[in-house]
Assembly symmetry: C2
Homo-oligomer: 341 residues x 2
Amino acid sequence: MATKLDPRALGEFGLIDALRRRARVARSAWSESIGDDAAVLRPRPNTELVLTADALVEDIHFRFATTDARSLGHKALAVNLSDLAAMGATPRGFLLSLALPPIALPERLEGFVSGLLATAKKYRCPLVGGDIVSSPVWMFSITAVGEVPRGKALLRRGARIGDRIMLSGDVGGSALGLQLLEASAAREPRARPFVRRHLRPTPRVEAGERLLRWGVATAVIDVSDGVVQDLGHIAQFAGSCAEIDIEDLPLPRGFRAACSRLGLEAHELALAGGEDFELLFTVGPNAPAARVFSKRLGCPISEIGVLRRGRGVVARRGGEPLRLSAGGFEHFKTLSLPSDK
Amino acid sequence: MATKLDPRALGEFGLIDALRRRARVARSAWSESIGDDAAVLRPRPNTELVLTADALVEDIHFRFATTDARSLGHKALAVNLSDLAAMGATPRGFLLSLALPPIALPERLEGFVSGLLATAKKYRCPLVGGDIVSSPVWMFSITAVGEVPRGKALLRRGARIGDRIMLSGDVGGSALGLQLLEASAAREPRARPFVRRHLRPTPRVEAGERLLRWGVATAVIDVSDGVVQDLGHIAQFAGSCAEIDIEDLPLPRGFRAACSRLGLEAHELALAGGEDFELLFTVGPNAPAARVFSKRLGCPISEIGVLRRGRGVVARRGGEPLRLSAGGFEHFKTLSLPSDK
């Protein structure tokens, strides 16, 4: 039924045709999509459009030794949906620039496209355009488009001293999953939930939309580079210090035990590990308790700290400040290059 | 004044900060841009948004041996502006996914960014967001956003049998420029205009906007893969055969002589060579003559053929059909791989 996605047999235009047939764009919002020079989106009245781009590169962001192609297709879109979620936006569609080696395996491309389009369908975010090119390594860049009511987008800036810090779900699981994959321990039953968390993250799209409608958040970001680093952006915009207590940090079930088996510091991994794709947000001092948020946003919400006078991010255990040896993932700075020291 | 753009000294966030400071987004259309999870665009009333993405990869689309970094920055945006022009859209802004080796030369990155932002300024199309990642080779994907009056976007489909085929400017120059670069003959004075055409193409943004306002075009595409291939898309949508006379094909001054010095078939290069970024469009049988178009669109326009019953693209010289050995550039199919035959 589906065309076999062989780059060399189909060529660029054959691949584009195959993707167009499978993308099945709903005509409501997009009057034109794949097949013209550009896609045409009709905005709804009184809305603004939210645009975000994220790129993933083979052997930098992922390795085929540790991910299956279908998960990769999912994740390529999910990381962008998470950025939309952090703005409170409703996904509308996305453009894909896909660079792949001419000798890319058809099964691999098929897996990638299946995973990508399944996630697109699930979040009602159709593929509407893009580009397919050849390249020495796999690389893809997705630009996702979302919609928010005019002037209502959730932003990183807006928090004030005294605001309380809230976090959806739990953190550290994705980083642990990556460690397990790299240690070739991914097939153990106890490892599976963490590995899945890393390979198939869930963007908090609905919680973000609900948070926007509620209008109670003063600043929002998604946890892609690690709690410390991402919270640092909110604190910086607020001209304040984000103080969190690691005893309040929500960890996945079995996380501490799995960390200790691998000789990892659980709290460091939870604070510095990236790609959890949870929502990290601040609310005023008089906002309701976390359990009220859990109910209204439809996912677990924990209160993890407060914004105080000062700068940066401070983690404490009880009253005592913690030393952190790692600060999240940043490109170029964290690459180990022979000439880097 | 400008920060030195050294990836390893600045890191990902330092680079993003440097780009934000230099991008200087006008606040009119974008309420948020670089620095949050996503950029926020407020559409004007009764408009639609046009989105296009194009990716360029080192050693596939360009080589640093034959292009300077500043031209490359220009071209990265220009190819996307050309897609907007083909829709008749007014550029509004763009997102950049930039993948570069950690050891990328700061001078090279500086040149790229300068060229990119100069072109952004010229076309009032600010950098509003994106991503910067490390990669084994340079690669960038740009998503450009334009605006059209509601329901008025110029499309590839819409032409009918009997429609006349029009072309802006001239074709073949870019392909010849590439040949000259590859033959290391780019420094000859006679070579310069062609080389410049290849390295610093001019998107027909204003002509596209004027064509949209005029409302006379039945179908439009930009010449990125070569006249034959791009005209083929219009003919296919029209269920017709595009017949062009190569005597009517507008060639750059000195083109035939330069081709013959290199032993190239001038008409083949003009028909099959890509990256001219001219507008190729159709108009009804009763539309005005080409010189009227030249005046109203503000650039030279030539009439090069007509849509007839049939399929595909036929080139004639006077009455006689021509054989064409090449059909434009298509990824994967045109790569010479050892196992490709």
